[in-house]
């Protein structure tokens, strides 16, 4: 969900790499990717390129799968089932990105990346997969399509950045599409969680009640409600952060172009 905010540091890193000739511009960017973190070595770069290419391909497969299923069925409903497996595979695969940060080959915060990836994985497995009844909801299509487009752009952005050949179009797309995709994804996610609530309450899914040997209880229903509430402070923060990034990144290039 907040994937558009993810790797903000790598995005800056990417734009530093793609703007070597801008000697005369204000160094607002090089200030932003400071600390002299030597980028990944050659082997790590090769690995990351492969990783990002594979992920781009994976999400393209999901995109194509969605379009084909729509054309075959003739309706928007129930498209989740046609891309369920690749969605689970590639979204879960993103957990590797936490490892990349921890090991240091990607200059992002482990905590931030972890939080973002885990929230996606949570929605994929603990909500959509676990509560069968929501799988046919249209809200699922809403967030899946938002994720798909976002990820295709994001992973190709990283691929090109790593290869030092970032087309302006990709950079523009990365910092512009989120304006629509982000709210779209959030809406889909919230509606899906909301749809899952009655089933969770009825079946007591993932919940533990007292009394028990370890004196512990967990109410998944309440947990889901709290999760929904947490979007209220978090979403605007991330959204406006991306907007500020957008201003910085795209304004910078505008300057170069007007020279």
């Amino acid at each position: 969900m907040w994937y558009t905010g993810i790797h903000v540091v790598s995005a800056k890193w990417g734009s530093v790499m793609s703007a070597p000739a801008m000697g005369t511009t204000k160094t607002a960017h090089s200030d932003v990717a400071p600390k002299k973190k030597r980028g990944p070595g050659a082997l790590a770069t090769a690995y990351l390129v492969i990783y990002n290419v594979v992920m781009t391909a994976g999400w393209l497969v999901i995109a194509v799968g969605l379009v084909r299923a729509y054309l075959v069925r003739g309706s928007y409903h129930g498209l989740y089932f046609s891309i369920e497996k690749p969605l689970k595979f590639f979204q879960t695969g993103a957990l590797l990105e936490i490892l990349h940060c921890a090991v240091g080959i990607v200059p992002s915060s482990v905590v931030l990346t972890g939080f973002q990836v885990l929230s996606r994985v949570f929605l994929t497995w603990a909500v959509t997969h676990s509560v069968r009844e929501v799988q046919s909801e249209d809200s699922v299509l809403l967030f899946v399509s938002a994720w798909t487009i976002t990820e295709i752009i994001r992973y190709s952005f990283y691929t090109f950045s790593l290869l030092n050949h970032l087309p302006y179009l990709i950079k523009w797309a990365r910092y512009t599409f989120f304006l629509v995709l982000y709210p779209m994804g959030v809406t889909g996610e919230l509606l899906t969680i909301y749809a899952a609530l009655p089933y969770v309450q009825k079946t007591g899914l993932y919940s533990v009640t007292l009394p028990n040997k370890y004196n512990f209880s967990f109410d998944y229903y309440t947990f889901l409600i709290l999760t929904m509430v947490s979007y209220i402070p978090l979403f605007p923060q991330l959204y406006f952060h991306m907007m500020r990034q957008r201003k910085k990144v795209l304004a910078h290039v505008e300057e170069y172009k007007t020279e």
Partner: protein, 312 residues
């Protein structure tokens, strides 16, 4: 007849580089602390504890006892200012952080209204371990309060307000959460009964005594040494301090031990979770302290580990 060269000090905002204050005729042997007091005169809200002064906006902060003429500045010194935000004295900090859990736990122990169901209000648990747990928890925080007031000496005077609010929320919320389960009408006492409770209690008491001994030892170190003489702690005649042979921060070791034994004594998962998180945080602190010691003292004992003997 000697003429002292007076210094001029200009204070600029670290971010905007605007001049905030210009002090002329400053004595060369004035300290940064005194400069902060002078700055405070122009800005009532910005008491010295809130001021962060640096020679380089990206560099290290100046200490209050740094003397102006010993700093690498010309006779006109440029100093950069940052507002650290509202500050609270350490004693207040600890009072807030510790009184909260103390009273909150008691609210749950006595089953105040609106926590459990209506018929359970002001009832008590039939299990002795529940009362024991309350006594342990309460004594733990009383001990901490006593230490905060009488034992600890703090190197920094204050802590930012934001940090305290965050810390308080964490401590208060967690103690409410664990107190909720221990004092719950549906609480299940430990699987191995009295044996489990008594052994765990014994270890708890030993760890609390240990933790207290270490705090006293560290405090004496500061008292004897004074600010300039830096020594690292050693085992003393008190057997509890013999843990210093094996770890750099036995106070943290004992603290983890106390909470671990409390978890076993109550057989309560939330307590174990709290212990785990506390362990992670204290390990981070211990590693930092261990590194500082190792760097500063050439003869630092090799055998010592940061927090867990021989392991971590």
């Amino acid at each position: 007849m000697s003429r002292t060269t007076f210094f001029e000090v200009e204070v600029l905002d670290g971010r905007t580089r605007q001049q905030l204050c210009f002090l002329d005729k400053v004595e060369p042997h004035a300290t940064i602390g005194e400069i902060k007091s002078l700055f405070h005169k122009s800005y009532q809200q910005l008491y010295p504890a809130r001021q962060d002064l640096k020679l380089d906006p990206k560099g290290k902060s100046l200490r209050d006892d740094d003397v102006l003429q010993n700093l690498p500045v010309g006779t006109t010194a440029t100093i950069y200012f940052k507002d650290l935000g509202p500050q609270v004295g350490w004693t207040m900090v600890f009072l807030a952080e510790y009184l909260g859990p103390l009273f909150i736990y008691l609210l749950f122990y006595f089953r105040a209204p609106y926590i459990y169901s209506h018929q359970d209000v002001f009832t008590s648990s039939p299990y002795s371990v529940v009362t024991l747990a309350c006594a342990c928890h309460t004594c733990h925080y009383i001990k901490r309060l006593i230490e905060a007031i009488f034992v600890h000496r703090f190197s920094h005077g204050t802590m930012p307000l934001r940090t305290i609010v965050r810390n308080c929320v964490y401590y208060w919320a967690f103690s409410a959460w664990l107190a909720f389960y221990i004092n719950h009408p549906l609480y299940t006492p430990p699987s191995y009964g009295d044996m489990q409770v008594n052994y765990a209690l014994a270890i708890f008491v030993l760890c609390e005594l240990g933790n207290f001994s270490i705090h006293v030892a560290l405090n004496n170190l500061k008292a004897e040494g004074g600010p300039k003489c830096r020594r690292f702690p050693h085992p003393t005649k008190n057997p509890f301090t013999w843990l210093f042979f094996f770890v750099s921060c036995p106070n943290y070791t004992y603290e983890v031990g106390a909470w671990a034994s409390f978890s076993v004594m109550t057989q309560c998962l939330p307590v174990a979770l709290f212990t785990f998180l506390a362990f992670i945080q204290m390990t981070i602190w211990a590693k930092g302290k261990h590194k500082t010691y190792s760097r500063e003292f050439k003869d630092y004992p090799q055998l010592r580990m940061p927090i867990i003997p021989l392991l971590l």
